[in-house]
Every structure is written in C-alpha cells, then in structure tokens.
C-alpha cells in the first residue's frame, strides 16, 4: 500500500463520491432512497470512515518523520499564466485532517439519533458528506486560490445546512445572512488574492511571502500596499471565523439542526479562518501592523462574544456567542505571532465545543418531547432546570466541557488558553488583560448555562412562562397549541447514538491538553520541532506559574459567582447588577446593537438603493426610449409608414446611409 501522505488527495474524494451518489439518488429515485435511509447513512459514514483511516495513517506518517508532500497540476492556463491546483500534506494539514474526520464521524453517528424522525434524514447525511469533503479539501489546499474554492464550498454547505428546515422563516433568513456576510469577507479575500497574485505572480503561500518581502526590501512595492493586501485577505477569515464586526451571521446560524452547529459552526468551518491565517503566517509576519490589527480584532471579538453570552437565555445562542469569543482568542494568538498556540486552542476547542453543542442538542431533543418543536421554547433555559437526574451522561459530559472551556487544570482548555494568554502577555499586555478578564467571564457564563440547565427544579411545564416566551418572540401558535397540550412526554436520556459521541469527545476534552504542556509540547514538536525545543529550553516555572495561577483564580471567581447566583440562589444578579445598570444590561441583551445597526444600515440601505436604481431604470432609461417611440409615432404620417411598410422604411434608411457613406468617401478621395 502506498504511503497515505502520497495519496492524501483521496481523503476529500471519498465523501464526495458518497455525497454525489446519494444526491443523484435523491433527485432520481427520491422515494426509494428515503426508504433505504439506514443503508445510505451507513455507507456515507463508511465513506467518511475511509477518509478518517487515511487521515490517521497520514498523521502517523507525519509523526514518524515522513516529509511533507506537495503535488500540483495545471488547472487553467492562458498566455504566460498558469493556475496550478493540487494538494499538500504537511504536519499542520495532517493534524487538521484527523480532527475534522473524527468530529465529522462522531457528528454523523449522533445525527442518526438526532435526525431519526426527520423527513430530510437522507438529505441531511448527503449535505454532511458534501461538507466534510469540502472541508477536507480546504485543509489540503496548497495555494490561496484552491483554498478560496473550498472556502466558498464550505460556505455553500453551511448555507444549505442552516437552511435545512426551509419551512422555517428564521432558518431561511439565517441561511441567507450567513452566505451574504461571508461573501462580504470573500470580497476582500478575492481582491487580496488577486492583488497578491499581481504583486508576486503566485498563489503559493510561501512564494507569496518571500516575493513580497523581497519586493518590499527592494522598494518595488510600497509597504502600505502590502499591508492593504494583507488586510484584504484577512477580511475572509474575519467573516468565516466570525470576527467583529462580521460575526453577526454566526449566532443566527444556530437556526440549523444542532449537529450542524456542533460540526460546522463550532468545530470545523468557523476554524477555517484561523487555519488560513496560520497558513499565511509567513506573509503576516512581515507586517507587524497587520499583526496588531489581527490581535486587536481578536481581542475585541473575544470580549464581545463573552459579554453578550452573559445575558443569553437561549442555550444554543449562549454557546454560539461563546464560540465567537473563543475564536477571538485564536485570532489573538495569530496576531501575537503564535500561530501554533492558536491552532492548539482550535483543536482543544473543537473537542469540547463540539461536545457542548452535541450535549445541548441532546437537551433540546428531550425538551422537545415536553414543550414541542418550537425552538423558542425548546432552547430556552428558563424552561429547563433539574435535567441532571434525568440525563446523567449528557449532564456529566456537559460539565466536563464547562470545566474545560473555563480553563481549570488539568483539562484541555487550560493549557491552550494559557498558552495564548502567555503569548499575549509578552506581545500586547493590554490585550492580555482583556483576554484575562474574558476568561473569568467565560467561566461565569458557562457555569451559568450548566446550572440553569441541569440543576434546580424543572420549569418546563410552566404554561404561563411558555406563553410569555411565545408572545415575546411574536409567535402565534394556532395549530401547534393543540400539539402542546397533547405533549406529555418526559425528559429522558438520549439514545446511545447520541450519548456515544458525547462520551467519546469527553476523553480528549480532558486529556488532549497534555500534548501541549509548555515544557514538553508534543504538538509543537510535530508542527515545528525547532520551536518546541526553544520553548522547552526557555521554559521557566517562575514565569509560568504566576500567570497560570492568575487565570485559574479568575476562572474560579467566575465559577463561584455562577454557583452562588444560579445554584444556591444566594445572589440575585438581577437586583445587584441589571437594575443598577439598566443601560449596560440593555446594551448586552441587544447584543451591542450590532444586529440592529446591520439591519437598519446595510439590509434596508441596500434595499432602498436597489429600489431607486430600478426606478431610474424604468422611469428614466426606459422612459427616454418610450418617449422617443412616442415622438416617432406621434409624427402623423410617419406612423403609417412604420406600421404598414416596415420593410420599405427600413430599406430607405439603409439606402440613405449608403448614399451618405459613398458621398463622404467620394469627397475624401
């Protein structure tokens, strides 16, 4: 058998084959395929499984020292220009491949339980396979252009999956918003790629970097132009990884099925932006200014996400803002010139955030038995509480996730987040401070989610509260009201297909951090051996401990506040905080007013502009045409010629024209 690294291009091909086959089946033999749902899902899982096996083999080869593989072919050419495509498999890629295939597999198994009763079961699995194919292709892309291709494809999959329940208005709007906001980022990315190609005649990551530094050194390219191009390229990751101010699409994208939120909008696709910035590290390291911008954007995002998450009452939205915040941490790491720390946090975050989302899915799945399929009810934590006794596995894994994300040692999140904060402390102390405060907020809101959902008494049967929530959301349930009354299901633990992925993911959430301990980082050792050596040599316990103790303390403080407020109910935060600072509370509840600004300025503005252009088109441009027509028609006799003798009229004009031309040229010669 050939080395897996050499045939890595097959990794995205297998899920693609599966997706194409079942997609064609859905189009041509819809009913039959839908009856064979288990067959389809098992074969699609096997296709992704083959990719997973290949990925792990490739990872193993990279760990045992096999050199990176890059193969290219000419995809398009014209004149002197050639656009190459192909694949690259290096340590970073192999780690990401293993991560994505693992989480995809787990989410597929989970979806078998979660989507069991859905009419679109087969379609869902097809989209999942299509997504995993695009995401895997993105990881092995050897150049910017190919990354852009897969970048768009994962965006499309996200669009299809957010809008999966297309009979819901919310889903329809969210899907469109996700795609369009991402396109705004892609606008910059495309221009940046074009500009870099213009400046360097290359799409290759390393070639671009060396060419740019060369042109700047020899004064061929003004530094501001290089900076501008880097910023344009950064717009892409800003949108994809939900960085301020292009983060607005991600919380809305939670309208999609929960497995999708776990896979695409927490673990893999949103991390693609961070991944691209890591790939472009050689380029970004030339410009300290762009690194400052990246770090600044990352810090703002990280603080903003956490602050909004403080007040969220929707379980999934809370997790979504937490994702925004964590992505901000990763970007901060990129800006501090520590891409490996960012990637390490990406990996640990993927494990525990996927687990948290899948856990929330498990909760929602069983809440739906009680309150019905209305997301406003099923996802609201005011109706939950006391689920721990009924759902032991879900609650335990969720708790593990909360501890991990809060940064309590020795769980995964501690090591990766601390690494980022340590780097920020050296590069930008102010950003470190904000990140440090955010860590406390993170611990607070995560445990707030945990206590509200799993502890206390179950509040789901409170009809008044339900009606109150519905009327707040302006939802009138006429038909489903009856359904509500019938619904007397009980909270229960989810089936094995849903709990197995939770248990599976709990293991790395606890232990994976040990791969990246700062004095002996196996992870950095794989990606960049020399840096690992440097890290190990320069490691000093005196420097590490104070920072580590500080962040543990601030996290513990956050947890304690949540514990007193939501478990013991000793502190009334409403009285203590919300009523004293109503404007600040309002500011947070309204998500910094960003959604409203977005709606008012961009959505309404573009609508108005388009309407005005259309008015101009139909009244002015077309108006002139019709006016000309009217004048011609109105000129009495002309009308008759026009209607009855078009041919003659036409011939006359032609004849006249020829005469005129002959006359002109006759005079000239």
């Amino acid at each position: 058998m050939p080395q897996a690294s050499e045939i890595a291009w097959l990794i995205p091909v297998f899920p693609l084959i599966g997706a194409v086959l079942s997609g064609l089946g859905l189009i041509s033999l819809n009913k039959e395929i839908n009856k064979l749902r288990e067959v389809v899902s098992i074969s699609l899982i096997s296709f992704v499984g083959i990719s997973a096996v290949l990925s792990y083999k490739a990872l193993y080869e990279q760990i045992s020292g096999y050199s990176a593989v890059e193969k290219l072919f000419v995809w398009a050419s014209a004149g002197d220009f050639q656009i190459p495509m192909g694949f690259i498999l290096d340590p970073l890629g192999s780690v990401m491949l293993a991560l994505v295939t693992t989480i995809t597999l787990l989410v597929m198994i989970y979806s078998h339980g979660y989507m069991a009763h859905d009419k679109g079961y087969v379609r869902f699995f097809t989209y999942l396979a299509l997504f995993s194919s695009s995401m895997l292709g993105l990881i092995i892309s050897p150049n910017l252009l190919e990354i852009y291709v897969f970048w768009e494809l994962v965006g499309m999959c996200s669009y299809l999956l957010v809008g999966f329940w297309y009979d819901r208005d919310g889903a329809a709007h969210a899907a469109q918003k996700a795609f369009v906001v991402n396109r705004v980022g892609d606008f910059g990315l495309l221009l940046g790629i074009l500009g870099l190609f213009w400046a360097t005649k290359s799409f290759d990551f390393n070639e671009i970097a060396s060419e740019i530094s060369h042109s700047i050194a020899s004064n061929n390219l003004p530094p501001w132009a290089g900076l501008l191009l880097c910023f344009l390229v950064f717009l892409g990751p800003m949108a994809k990884s939900a960085q301020f101010p292009l983060h607005v699409w991600l919380p809305d994208a939670m309208e999609g099925p929960t497995p999708i939120s776990a896979l695409i909008h927490a673990a893999t696709m949103v991390a693609a932006g961070v991944f691209l910035v890591a790939r472009l590290e050689p380029l970004y390291s030339i410009f300290p200014n762009i690194q400052l911008i990246i770090a600044l954007v990352g810090t703002i995002t990280c603080f903003l996400g956490a602050s909004i998450a403080l007040t969220q009452m929707d379980l999934k939205k809370g997790l979504a803002y937490s994702t925004v915040s964590q992505l901000g941490y990763m970007m901060l790491a990129m800006g501090c010139g520590a891409p490996l720390a960012g990637i390490f946090h990406l990996i640990t975050h993927a494990c525990f955030k996927a687990m948290l989302f899948l856990g929330s899915g498990s909760v929602i799945h069983s809440m739906e038995e009680v309150v019905g399929h209305q997301p406003v009810l099923a996802q609201d934590m005011r109706l939950m509480g006391g689920l721990r006794k009924k759902m032991p596995i879900t609650s335990t894994t969720f708790l593990i996730g909360c501890i991990a994300i809060s940064g309590i040692p020795p769980l995964a999140g501690f090591w990766s987040k601390d690494e980022i904060l340590a780097n920020a402390f050296i590069s930008f102390p102010i950003f470190w401070f904000i990140g440090f405060i955010t860590a406390g907020m993170t611990a607070f809101y995560m445990f707030r989610l945990y206590f509200l959902t799993f502890e206390g008494n179950f509040r789901g049967n409170d009809k008044d509260l339900q009606n109150q929530l519905l009327s707040d959301a302006n939802i009138v349930l006429e038909e489903e009201n009856n359904e509500l009354d019938h619904n007397h299901g009980a909270i229960h633990e989810s089936p094995w297909s849903m709990t197995f992925p939770l248990i599976f993911l709990a293991v790395p959430s606890i232990f994976i951090g040990f791969l990246g301990v700062p004095w002996d980082s196996k992870f950095v050792g794989l990606l960049n051996p020399s840096e690992a050596l440097l890290m190990a040599q320069s490691f000093e316990l005196n420097e590490f401990l104070p920072l580590a103790i500080c962040s543990v303390l601030v996290s513990s403080a956050g947890i304690s506040v949540a514990f007193f407020a939501y478990y013991l109910n000793k502190i009334d935060l409403n009285q203590l905080f919300a009523s004293k600072f109503p404007s600040l509370n309002k500011f947070l509840v309204n998500k910094w007013y960003l959604d409203i600004i977005n709606e008012k300025i961009f959505v309404k503005g573009s609508r108005r502009l388009a309407k005005e252009v259309l008015e101009v088109d139909s009244k002015v441009v077309d108006g002139v045409v019709n006016l000309t027509g009217l004048v011609t028609l109105g000129s009495g006799e002309g009308l008759k010629y026009f209607e009855t003798g078009r041919a003659q009229f036409y011939a006359l004009i032609v004849f006249g024209g020829v005469l005129l031309l002959v006359a002109i040229f006759g005079l000239q010669s």
Partner: protein
C-alpha cells in the same frame, strides 16, 4: 513538450491520410443549411392537431444538427491552430462582393457548439407547446441555422444577413407566443435590434469598400487591411452601439427585460443562451479583432461599461419583484464580465470573457428554463404571490438551488472560473494604470457580494418559509418531471465539467484568443499616447508568447 509535439504530428497525420474525406466535408454549411431546409418540410406535415409528430421531427433535426457541429469539431478542427479552419468559400454574388464564406476559428467554434446544444434542449423544453406548434418549431429550427450562421460566416456582408435573418424568428416567437404585453415587447425588440443593426451594415459597407474599388467583405481580407485610425474609431463606435444593444450594455438594455419578461421558456432559453452571446462574439470578432487601433482607445470604456453593467443590473435585479425580469437583469449583470474581459488586453482576461459567454449560455438557459417550469405550476411570476413552494416541489427546489449557485459563481461551476479569469487577467495586465485597475476591480468585485443577495433572496421568497395557502389550494404544484430533470442535468453536466477542469473548453480557443490579444497589444504599443505602463519598475511587462 514532447507529448505536445507528438500529438501535433499525429493530428497532422490523421488529417493528411485518414481524415481527408471527412475534413473536406462541408461541415459548417451543412450545419447551417440542414435545420433551415428541414424547417421548410414542417408545413407539409399532415397532422393538424397538437403537433406530436412535429416536435419529434424538430427534436431529431436539432439533435442531428448538434451531431454535425460536434462532427465538425472532432474531424475538422485543430485546437492548436489559431487561424480559421473548416473553410468553405463560394462566390455568391461577385458583383457586390458577397461570398458564401464560412469557417470557424477558436472564437466561433465553442459558440457554434453551444448554439446547437442549447437549441436541442430548447426543443425538448418546448414539448408542452400546443398553440400553433408547426409554426413554432419551424421558427426554432430556422433560428438554429441562422444562429450557427452568425457564428460561422467569414464575410461581413453575409454576417449582416445572418444577423438579420435571426431577428425575424425571434420577433415572431415573441409576438405570437409571448405573455400579455407581447406586442409591446416584440416591437421594442425589433426596433432596438433592427435599428441598431443599421450600423453593422454601414460599417460593413465602409470596411468592404475601404481602399479599393472592388468590394471585399471577407474577414481575412479585412483583417489585412490597414484602416486609418479615424476610420476605425468611426466604425468601432457604430458597431459598439449595434452589438451593445445585443449584449446588452447599459443603457441600451431596456428591450431585454421586456423581451425576456414576455417570452416563453424555450424562447427564453434561446434568448439568454445564444442571442446575448452574438453581441459578445461580434464585439470580439469585429471590434477587438478587425479594429485594433480603435480598440486600443475604446477598451477602457468597455471596462467601465462592464463594471456599470455588473453593479447597475445587480441592483435592479434585487429590486425586481417579477421573477423573469429578475433573472433577465441578472443576465445583464453577468454580461458585464464579458465586457471587462474583452477590454482587458490580456489573453487570460479575454479567454475569461469567452468562457463567461459559454458559461452564461448554459447557466442562463437553465435558470430561464426553470422559471418557465415554475410558472407552468404557479401561474404567477410575482414573488409576492409565491412562498413556501419548496415543500411541495422538492426536486424543483434542488434544481433551482443548484442553478442559482452556479449563477452566483460558486467554485466548482463554470461561472466561477470565467469570472476569476476575467478578474485575474484584468488585474495582472499592465496596459492600464494601477489606480484604474484597482478601482475597477474593486467595483466589479462588489458584484460578488450583490449577486448572492438577489439570487438567494429570490430562492428564499419562492421556496423557503411557510407554505402560501392560497397558492397550494389554487394550483397543482407537482414536482419536477423526468423531462425537466433531464434538461437541467444536461445543462449542469457541462457547467460542472468546466468548473472542475476549465481547460476542457479554454484549450480549444486559446490560440485564437492569444493571436487576437497580441494584435490588440501591438496596436496599443503603436499608439504610444495610450500606453500607461504603470509600474515598469516593479513588474516587467510580459507579452504572452505564442
């Protein structure tokens, strides 16, 4: 390199020995005349009813025509040759210099194939036409031949005739089978196009008579004639108006939404798939190829107009509430890339323009077909009266989504490649100053954001959300039938094929485009006034080497 030489030698041998008889076969004349002559058989068909026989007949004829054009491509066309191939030349009316000269180079061949391909599918799409079927299919077949002629003729006077010949069928197809405002739309169409084609005739006569007493309209002759700059500019301006109406270029576009808004689905497919391409083809053939000195001066205007097309039409499309008009404006928007590509002076950009024509031919045809199929079910084109249709028509929804994604230039589909080639070609090309390129590319890239806004909003308003109760009660919303799936499948296959491996198509016309761009670049260099080598110091100018 060795491979390339070998294949070249092999090609030569096959043509030299085995292929003699086939390569002498008058492929193009047959592909033009066969559908036209067959069309004249239709009136003698015995049946008077629903036209079942007629439509089968038309389908077979159009398929044979397609096969003939494919045969021409396989047997007589060498992709490495940049000149006109498959030449046939018969003196028709020597006294006025009219020659039946047909032939194909890399620019015509893909469009000839596109024409016969889309026409076959349009005939299939016209299956439900029951009103005057004989006349309908007669006109479609006549149009088939006429349109192939437009792309194949190598004589400017003949080109004018073919251009006019194709107007009449379209006029009748609009006027007889159109919607409520069909008379208005058809009249507007004929006045616009016929009126503007006067400029073609004038330019043709002027160019044919230029410099000699014996008129000669053949392209090869015109290409060798050294027209003076002033003369070129005059002709260029006239031709730009004529072809600008067809393409269309804003503000000469207002016939298009009316015509497209009123046409039935199959006619619609032909309008969007082929008719618009005539404008782009003619711009390349005459303005860029025959009038290089004028092109050197007009090209910046083309780029500006292209950007205007992209943004203006995208915005109008967003505001449109009528489905057909929405897609019609999106066609205009996409044609903007053709203009930028033609004006780019780079072989990458120009071949991007060429690819955009082929690609939009396929995507536009598929979208318009879907509009027709949807209208058959909902009986309304107003977006306000639709909504939630997706639950009843799942497969239709899937097809719509696929074609809309193709139209918004999703990678993996042809539209992305062509837009990317235009962008890359334009940005890397050193003829224009840097600020001009930066501004134009940034503005054109706004289209990248606007396109999904209007296309996805459209999908949302038709298919997403709660079911429109009034609509499902009144209308029978059946899902897509096999014939419709087949048509879209036929269109999506090349869309995906080109998107995954664009050289499938680009390799066939690259030599022709290269020599065309070379000629234009020489013209730019000779008129030194207009050269703005912006960054001579940073990036040395590289001319495409052939």
């Amino acid at each position: 390199m060795i491979n390339y030489c070998l294949s070249h030698v092999l090609d030569f041998k096959t043509i030299g020995t085995v292929g003699v008889s086939l390569s002498n076969f008058p492929w193009l004349s047959v592909s033009i005349l066969f559908p036209i002559i067959s069309a004249f058989v239709i009136p003698f068909f015995p049946d008077k009813g629903e036209g079942k026989e007629v439509r089968w007949f038309a389908l077979i004829v159009s398929l044979i025509t397609f096969l003939i054009t494919v045969g021409a491509y396989i047997n007589g066309f060498n992709v490495n040759d940049d000149g006109v191939q498959l030449k046939e030349s018969v003196n028709w009316l020597p006294s006025i210099g009219l020659t039946w000269a047909v032939g194909a180079d890399g620019i015509s061949m893909p469009l000839i194939l596109l024409t016969s391909f889309i026409t076959s599918l349009a005939v299939l799409a016209a299956w439900p036409v029951s009103f005057k079927p004989k006349l309908f299919f007669f006109l479609i077949l006549a149009m088939d031949g006429g349109q192939i002629a437009v792309f194949a003729v190598q004589d400017m006077l003949l080109f004018f005739l073919a251009w006019e010949l194709e107007l009449l069928p379209v006029y009748l197809l609009l006027a007889i089978w159109g919607g409520k405002k069909r008379q208005y739309a058809a009249t507007k169409f004929i006045i616009y196009t016929a009126g503007s084609s006067i400029f073609i005739l004038l330019a043709a006569l002027a160019m044919g008579f230029y410099g000699g007493n014996i008129p000669n309209f053949e392209f090869t002759h015109l290409a060798q004639t050294e027209f003076s700059q002033g003369f070129q500019i005059l002709c260029y301006a006239g031709l730009l108006i004529a072809f600008g109406v067809k393409l269309p270029i804003v503000p000469l576009h207002t016939w298009l939404p009316d015509a497209h808004g009123e046409a039935t689905a199959p006619v619609h497919m032909l309008l969007a798939g082929i008719l618009l391409k005539m404008g782009g083809y003619a711009l390349l053939r005459f303005n860029a190829q025959l009038l290089p000195l004028a092109h050197a001066q007009f090209a910046p205007l083309l780029v500006v107009l292209g950007v205007v097309n992209i943004i203006y039409a995208a915005l109008t499309s967003f505001a449109q509430r009528n489905l057909k008009r929405k897609i019609a404006y999106s066609s205009i928007s996409h044609m903007g890339f053709v203009l930028i590509g033609i004006g780019s002076f780079s072989s990458l950009g120009t071949s991007g323009a060429m690819l955009q024509m082929v690609s939009h031919g396929l995507i536009g045809a598929s979208l318009f077909f879907l509009v027709g199929a949807t209208y058959d079910r909902t009986k309304t084109l107003k977006l306000d009266e639709m909504g939630g249709v997706g639950q009843k028509m799942r497969i239709m929804f899937a097809l719509w989504t696929a074609c809309s994604l193709a139209s918004l230039a999703l990678p993996g589909m042809s539209g992305f490649v062509s837009e990317l080639m235009v962008f890359t070609g334009f940005v890397t090309d050193e003829v224009y100053t840097l600020p001009f390129r930066v501004i134009m590319a940034s503005l054109a890239a706004i289209g990248v954001v606007l396109t999904p806004i209007y296309l996805l909003s459209m999908l949302r308003e038709i298919f997403f959300g709660k079911e429109n109760l009034k609509l499902i009660e009144e209308r029978n919303l059946i899902d897509a039938e096999p014939r419709e799936i087949y048509i879209i499948g036929c269109l999506l296959l090349p869309i995906l094929g080109i998107g995954l491996y664009p050289r499938l198509v680009t390799d066939s016309y690259l030599p022709s485009i290269n020599s065309l761009v070379d000629r234009d670049l020489n013209a730019v260099r000779s008129s030194t006034k207009y050269i703005n080598f912006a960054n001579n110091d940073s990036v040395p100018f590289k001319a495409p080497s052939i």
